[in-house]
Subunit: 340 residues, 2 copies
């Protein structure tokens, strides 16, 4: 199978997004796990000043998370711009976000700074380059905790060294149908990769979407890690899933079509939809869209993955939805979007 | 709610069919549980002669079950014209069926004769009258085993006396959704009613369809039993189910509509359908049709209940279907019928 494209987004049939991120800590400031209230406030102050001064992106928004409502913080989590841990933490904390949402810098998450670049499709080189540019700019203004032998220091040992982590959000519905996911997960473990759910650490897989990331950053250069991830790991994941799709299409096309058509028609007709069920059905429809069995763009499906999340629905309703109203609004949103 | 009608079929929103049947045994012939091969063959001979001579219906077909293929016997079971027990028994056995399929007389099932009249909708009076007419005609030609004190004799004590049994096949999806079925089943038990599945004794309920019948025929006249069944039991069952439907429509119309619309769209889109799933989905669509939420006649749904059964599909295909081919053909049949 040749690689299908969706509006020119590379390998988007399997890879939803690619993310490169750095963990950084300021020198002469205690790590957050041992910082006082005042000391963490000082990190915030320093970081905020730099975020607003350095030309990190065309337009950078700065948000103090304490000043946001819980709904606004949940929206940022659902958009993958901050982590759940960051939203729920009790520290002074903030985030800088580029207006195109490609870049976000969490301040006082686990480390003083977590810089991420996130793009649709398989774009490790692009996100890595952009991340390196941002890192250079920040380093002109900030003095990082660095050890000659260990490299960049971080709260968690797995982040010590380069502090870099690459991850791809991959959609593996065919491997799920053919019961080969366990095999992929074993292979990932041997390669020291972490396999997580749609909302990262501690989250469950939803809609057969998995976040796969490197684990070890110590003792290797950023470039070495990036090369391995870009040249071996991502292509292997894509290949596994595409092969499973090929097998299904050749050997069990009726089963495949049954799953896709049922999912599509339930999404077009349900009056009440729970988020987990919606994710699962959208996953099958996404597979159908990738294979050309359903006339829908991958982008529409991927946007729905986010728009059906609870905070997004509450924001759309501009009120606090009851449980039942949330199920109704989700079903309505999905019906309207798919019937367009 | 007023009683909806479907082409003038009374109370068809809840009652699929009404059946009246008699158990009869010939005098001077041993009961089947103690008859020799020759003795049961003699019963067949006697019965067959009468069936073909007496004007039981405009056109009566006689079938020797031993001469039919297993597929043909299965077809008769699926059409509720003979019982599973009758199809699978190793006795000499036959059946007389009126060409409109309203009447069938099983010979050598549990008793020498089992005479049934089956009609769509709630029609106890009609089926009872027709059954009595057939019984009178048969009695002119046959000498029945009768005891002055006990009445008509039968193999099973529950059939001794009048030998009559009334049953209705009722569709109770709303009682299922509102979790009130257990209550109805308890009430039925107190009234000495048997509650069975779609294919009678020993079968499971399928598609929320239940066969409710009287159990005791001893010590009362046919008319007394009929009066109670007709005036109390059937109206109560109909009322329970309609009340549950009313409650759902008033208090949880979105849930109701969700179940109906999902079922309808899955039936219109599935490529593979198992019989149990199809029955369950058709049940919800039948509820939708009864409430006017789905533009479909109850008759279409009720015919599908029969046409999706395995023997009917094999007959339609005119070949022995593989398991997978059966799932495909069922899905195709349902899709085509619903999209007409």
């Amino acid at each position: 199978m040749t690689a299908p494209k969706d509006n020119g987004i590379p390998d988007n049939d399997v890879v939803l997004t690619t993310r490169s991120r750095l963990a950084r800590n300021l020198a002469d400031h205690p790590f957050l796990n041992r910082a006082s209230d005042m000391q963490s406030a000082l990190v915030m102050q320093t970081a905020q000043r730099v975020m607003l001064e350095a030309p990190l992106s065309e337009k950078t928004l700065w948000m103090d998370l304490d000043e946001l409502t819980p709904l606004d913080r949940a929206l940022l989590v659902e958009r993958h711009l901050i982590s759940r841990h960051h939203a729920e933490s009790s520290l002074h904390r903030g985030v800088a976000i580029s207006s195109d949402e490609h870049m976000s810098i969490m301040v006082n998450e686990e480390d003083h700074l977590r810089v991420q670049v996130l793009r649709r499709g398989s774009r490790l080189d692009e996100t890595f380059e952009q991340l390196m540019r941002i890192d250079s700019m920040l380093e002109q203004h900030l003095d990082y905790a660095f050890h000659d032998q260990w490299g960049y220091l971080a709260v968690c040992p797995t982040n010590v060294g380069t502090g870099i982590r690459f991850s791809v959000m991959v959609h593996l519905p065919a491997l799920r149908i053919t019961n080969e996911l366990a095999k992929v997960q074993r292979a990932a473990k041997e390669l020291h990769l972490a396999v997580r759910g749609y909302y990262g650490e501690g989250s469950e897989s939803s809609g057969h979407i998995y976040q796969v990331s490197n684990q070890v950053t110590l003792g290797r250069t950023e470039e070495e890690i990036q090369e391995e991830f870009s040249k071996s790991i991502i292509p292997a994941l894509i290949d596994y899933e595409r092969s499973a799709r090929n097998v299904l299409m050749k050997k069990n096309s009726m089963l495949l079509d049954d799953r896709i058509q049922r999912a599509y028609s339930v999404l077009c007709s349900a009056r009440l939809l729970k988020v987990d069920e919606a994710m699962k059905l959208l996953s099958r429809v996404r597979l159908g869209a990738a294979l050309g069995h359903v006339d829908l763009s991958l982008q529409t499906v991927d946007e729905l993955f986010v728009q059906i999340q609870p905070a997004h629905l509450n924001q759309q309703a501009q009120s606090t939805l009851s449980d039942n109203d949330e199920l109704e609004l989700r079903a309505l949103l999905v019906r309207n979007t798919l019937s367009q």
